[in-house]
Point group: C2
Chain length 432, copies 2
């Protein structure tokens, strides 16, 4: 089952997919040359939105949490990509420590952790799970839905090295996005590979840095295949020194929202698009769709009631919001079984290894589909993202998924640039 594009505006998108298809060889070669210059993150997932006239990433997650949602047929791709990543980073690696999120009661998330561990074991690594949670003070078995168990172990730090009892890893893989800040136990590690690096965590990372890097990537790519970069890139802007509680920064926010809506309206006119422009206001740091607001008019950000302001003022782990990104809203025009569907593409190293749709029956096409407390139905991609087929329509499943895989890799490349630009000088302490 593949979601249908339910828009009269699919013409321009099919044109976009056609461009990707016709230029597939050029695109792959260009990406290969980019990966010669830039190191991809160990893994990542990208939320895409497909509005028929625009196909763009709206979020890039460096601690992906849905490997359990991928089509089982793609597991060999995950193993092969992980083999390639491990070989590059630490070919002699014997032991890998995986550090998951602290919320040990989310059974979907735990399946994701089990899946990551299974992939890594199949590359030839001993994998154990070390928990940052203060509640894990002894080895703690956790039951999974499929009848298996995970064993969470307390971290053990000895001088410059981190491990769990009797286990000294060469590589430490974070699946914890550090929204709660960088714990001391992770700082100043000596000769162990910590991936992704600490500044990839939300304690330090900013969406605006990512999308600034994405601007550069999208512009170069658009020139390569001859398209308006706007077709793959949402406008964005930002405000610092926001305090939703104290209504501080409202003027900045209203002005930026208004400016962005004007720019989008202009583009809609240029491309003959008969839709209502909107923007999405999000915390610049943080994830899980908390602190997110859809806005169609600048006035909306002035008259926020207490509930709305509370909702916007904190994200995961109680991290206070003081900077926001205002991002052009991209409608999602894919529907399946009466629900709105948003594609999420998964990557390991520089390879697309699968993806799935988040399907919401209760949400609109201009709403955020990754909201807290809202359960989405995952729908695994049926085919891979690496087999474009010139003989089929540009919107045939292999070609649509190929387009998704391309845009997702542009976001991955932007993440590489972002991490290079925000890297701290060697030896410097990470402030957070």
């Amino acid at each position: 089952m593949v979601p249908c594009l339910t828009t009269a505006l699919s013409g321009p998108l099919l044109d976009l997919e056609r461009r990707f298809l016709d230029n597939a060889t050029t695109i792959e070669r260009w990406l290969r040359s980019q990966w010669q210059e830039h190191t991809p993150p160990f893994y990542g997932s990208v939320d895409l939105r497909n509005s028929g006239f625009k196909l763009a990433p709206v979020d890039m997650n460096l601690f992906p949490g849905g490997f359990n949602n991928l089509n089982e047929a793609f597991h060999p791709l995950c193993v092969q990509a992980a083999m390639s990543a491990v070989e590059k980073i630490c070919p002699d690696a014997r032991n890998l420590l995986l550090i998951p999120e602290n919320h040990t009661r989310n059974r979907f998330y735990l399946q994701n952790v089990a899946q990551i561990a299974a992939i890594l074991r199949r590359t030839g690594l001993n994998v154990r799970l070390g928990s940052l949670s203060p509640e894990v003070t002894a080895p703690t078995p956790v039951d999974l839905d499929d009848g298996t168990q995970l064993l969470l172990e307390p971290l053990v730090r000895s001088r410059g090295r981190l491990g769990v009892d009797g286990f000294d890893p060469c590589m430490i893989l974070l699946n914890n996005d550090l929204s709660a800040g960088i714990p001391d136990i992770l700082r100043g590690l000596d000769s162990q590979y910590l991936l992704p690096p600490l500044h990839a965590g939300w304690a330090v990372r900013r969406k605006t840095h990512h999308f600034a890097a994405y601007d550069d990537v999208a512009n170069e790519f658009a020139k390569l295949i001859g398209i308006d970069p706007w077709r793959i890139n949402p406008y964005f802007s930002s405000c610092d020194e926001i305090d939703f509680h104290d209504r501080q920064g409202e003027d900045c926010l209203a002005a930026k929202v208004d400016g962005l809506l004007t720019m989008i309206r202009e583009k809609y006119r240029e491309h003959g698009i008969d839709e209502t422009p909107y923007v999405v206001v999000k915390a610049d740091a943080g994830t899980y769709g908390m602190g997110v607001m859809t806005v169609r008019d600048a006035d909306e950000v002035r008259g926020l009631n207490r509930r709305q302001r509370n909702k916007m003022s904190v994200v995961k782990e109680g991290l206070a919001v003081s900077q926001v990104i205002i991002q052009e809203g991209v409608q999602t025009f894919e529907e399946v079984g009466g629900g709105v569907a948003e594609p999420v593409v998964y990557m390991i190293d520089r390879y697309v290894v699968g993806g799935f749709y988040r399907v919401h029956t209760a949400r609109g096409r201009d709403e955020n589909l990754n909201a807290p407390g809202m359960h989405f139905e995952p729908l695994a991609f049926e085919t891979s993202c690496s087999l474009p087929d010139q003989r089929c329509d540009p919107d045939a499943a292999p070609n649509r998924f190929y387009a998704y895989g391309v845009v997702a890799r542009l976001a991955l490349l932007a993440a590489s640039l972002e991490l290079e630009r925000t890297a701290l000088p060697a030896g410097a302490a990470v402030a957070a």
Copy 2:
């Protein structure tokens, strides 16, 4: 559909598969370390035989000809592995020249060529086909069964570079095993990557060199996981200066056959195996199952009639046989639909990307299943070779295929050693 092991002797094999399963992490790590030291061939396929008590490679092909027989679900694995290979060899590559075999009328083979070209295009390469055939003097379209076409073009050599008209490749990939000798047009190329190297072709290559390297690999691997190396390695011996027409070398052959049968009989006794030992006599150079003879008694090689001697005296392209390898016969105890099934595993770079069974209904379990003029039915592997599952029986499909993938990679590693050892000093002319 997965073939059944139809032997009362499956006990020891299940024990072997159990060893592979229990040591999967160690095995993968060991293979990773081996690929740090040795460069895998660009691609390869391995014929395995599975006798229940023994699982061993009997042939390693460096110019694989059955990519069309792989499960379509594994195509993304092929693309990903080829991306990794191209990135290592020639990351800036834009153009690749593929040189197929000359027999342009084999429609199965042509589908293989089309499949290889499709995989390479998806890695971001322009691919054109250059033919060594003297019949191809102008661009020659060839129709494929699926309604598409291949375009064979005459090779164009200008000074140190090889291409086709208007096409200067960075990489030249041979899918022609050079049984007919090394054509001058391929010699002395300047700053173009020619893969596999010329000495991998049958004009130079010898099976005995391969299996000597495999001895080393099998011994080290057997030590690693604690098994008798014989369980994964067929005994072999060789005779030079054979001339089947003149009955020259019969004594050497009979003596070697007898010696090998004695050694196998000894091993059968040691392992309690109630089967009749046999050996296979093959041309030391060459492929396609020509010049192959199954022998159960040394006397058989003395009384060869004219037909048998003719059959043994030449292989593909009329190459005369003067050296033979005498290899321990490994029964194939896998059956499907009343036919005998022999697994063939496909690899690109260091990755297993799929495989299929050759199924013959008209041949016995101790006969060569890759014989000229005998059409086999390919049966694609149902699952991948990279997902061993500890929770299943050692003989469950993912685990059996994992074992196949491991032994195939041992043969691939042996091919790397073989090519290192037989490489010519830089600048030396290749004699053939």
